[in-house]
């Protein structure tokens, strides 16, 4: 599975990368919103994990872009912080499939990813 991870905090993106690689996924990284949009077009991932608050383009903009650009249903998991419940709701309206609140456990993220994988 090819997974695009968009997160601007280096320690978190590295932690997610290691966990997903350990699970056998191919991982593409983006540390800001614009990079995520470019990386999406270049790598055509099977799944996206994105932070909400990022420089240049937010997680919500990424979801809108993905939903408009491709006919294929690509699962999106959003990483949100405490107190961002309104934004999470907006993300679901835009087509997000799941969310995980920071602080999160890498093991929990791994389970959520597996749940969204096609059978």
């Amino acid at each position: 599975m090819r997974i695009l991870v968009a997160e601007d905090e280096p320690i978190l993106i590295r932690t997610i990368e290691l966990r997903l690689k350990k699970d056998g996924h191919e991982v593409f990284l983006a540390t800001d919103g614009q990079q995520a949009l470019d990386q999406f077009t270049a790598s055509l991932p099977d799944m996206i994990i994105t932070d909400i608050m990022m420089p240049y383009a937010s997680g919500l903009e990424i979801i809108s872009f993905v939903r408009q650009q491709t006919g294929k249903r690509i699962p999106v998991i959003i990483l949100s912080s405490m107190g961002q419940e309104d934004v999470v709701l907006e993300a679901f309206q835009l087509g997000a499939d799941d969310y995980i609140t920071k602080p999160f456990s890498p093991n929990e993220l791994s389970v959520r990813v597996r749940r969204l994988l096609p059978a």
């Binding site: 320690i11 602080p103 456990s105 890498p106």
Partner: protein, 346 residues
């Protein structure tokens, strides 16, 4: 002329030295970062053998780097960022690494600094890295003069001890800002446990903001058993406390609450009257219709409107009174009454 040139050369020299130093520092940081990243990832995914606790092997280059204060600070910054974003074993392992490298000492040292921004930073680091043994020192800072340090210390104590941490409310003389009250309520919403038994005592605190915050806590956590203590606050000398008590009663009302509110209504200032009418709109019954009907002739239009809304919310009997109100066809009631009825349905 010569002295001008001399000054100019000094300035240029100083700037060059500064830039060189900055570049050297950046290079050093760039060199350290991958080593730290490697150590942190190792710690995050560390699985201690035989439950013996975490003891990540520390490479020599890291041990050597630990002699540099800047290296230790970079490591603390990364640990803090990691702990903020990660929970479960990953988060716990970061705390264990912080303890293993005795980085708490650096943070505690900051608490002794005279610079307030360093004190605030130290408090944050200790709270995020769950350093409960520093609680006593942080607790002392919950009533300090410097506002930012005080706010950080209060938040840290609640982060470390949950509801029990609220004991700082016993000692603070400085006001709790509106923003700080929201922050504390948010932190407590994530804490397990219940409000301490002494919560009622804070309603008689000499610090007005403590009384207001306590009323918010009681409402948020629906402390029904404190109903009578909250009713006593309706006699408080501060109209802000009375207003908060009225709003709090909306969450913990009993069959006697509406009567208590109606009894004090006449003696209140406009904002408290408004709060009473709003509360009666939620907790009132047909018994209160007579009182609400009399308030339709209040001097201020916003009070007339709130009384009409309360009547509309009470039900068909309240609406019937609104329809039969003798002045309903005249201004402003010809606008207020339809709006109140409309608000009920939206």
């Amino acid at each position: 002329m010569m002295s001008m040139v001399g000054i100019l050369l000094c300035v240029i020299g100083f700037m060059l030295l500064y830039l060189l130093r900055k570049r050297k520092r950046k290079r050093q940081m760039d060199k350290w970062r991958p080593r730290l990243d490697h150590l942190l990832q190792r710690a995050i995914y560390w699985e201690p053998d035989n439950g013996a606790g975490l003891s990540v092997p520390i490479p020599f280059r890291i041990s050597r780097g630990m002699k540099h204060p800047a290296f230790r600070q970079l490591l603390v910054d990364e640990l803090v960022k990691g702990k903020k974003g990660l929970s479960g074993t990953a988060g716990t392992n970061l705390v264990l690494l912080f303890n293993q490298l005795r980085l708490g000492k650096d943070a505690e040292q900051k608490l002794k600094s005279r610079k307030w921004h360093l004190q605030a930073q130290g408090i944050q680091e200790l709270a995020i890295m769950e350093q409960q043994r520093s609680s006593a020192r942080i607790y002392q800072l919950t009533n300090t003069q410097q506002e930012l340090v005080r706010i950080e210390a209060q938040s840290a104590i609640v982060q470390l001890h949950g509801f029990e941490g609220l004991r700082f409310l016993d000692i603070i003389d400085h006001p709790l800002s509106e923003w700080q009250q929201i922050q504390l309520l948010r932190l407590l919403a994530r804490s397990p446990g219940v409000l301490p038994e002494k919560t009622g005592d804070w309603l008689t605190s000499t610090n007005e903001s403590v009384r207001i915050f306590t009323l918010k806590l009681i409402a948020e956590h629906r402390q029904q058993e404190l109903h009578e203590a909250v009713v006593s606050c309706l006699e408080d000398g501060s109209h802000q406390v009375r207003g908060q008590a009225i709003r709090c009663l909306r969450e913990i009302y009993t069959s006697t609450t509406a009567g208590s509110l109606i009894r004090i209504y006449a003696a209140q200032i406009s904002s408290c009257r408004l709060a009473i009418l709003e509360t009666l709109g939620h907790i009132g019954s047909e018994e209160d219709i007579g009182f609400l009907n009399r308030q339709l002739t209040e001097e201020e239009n916003r009070l007339k409107l709130e009384a009409a809304r309360a009547l509309a919310r009470i039900g068909p009997k309240g609406i019937q009174w609104l329809d039969q109100f003798p002045l309903s066809a005249t201004y402003p009631w010809n606008e207020i009454i339809p709006q109140a009825k409309n608000d009920r349905t939206t």
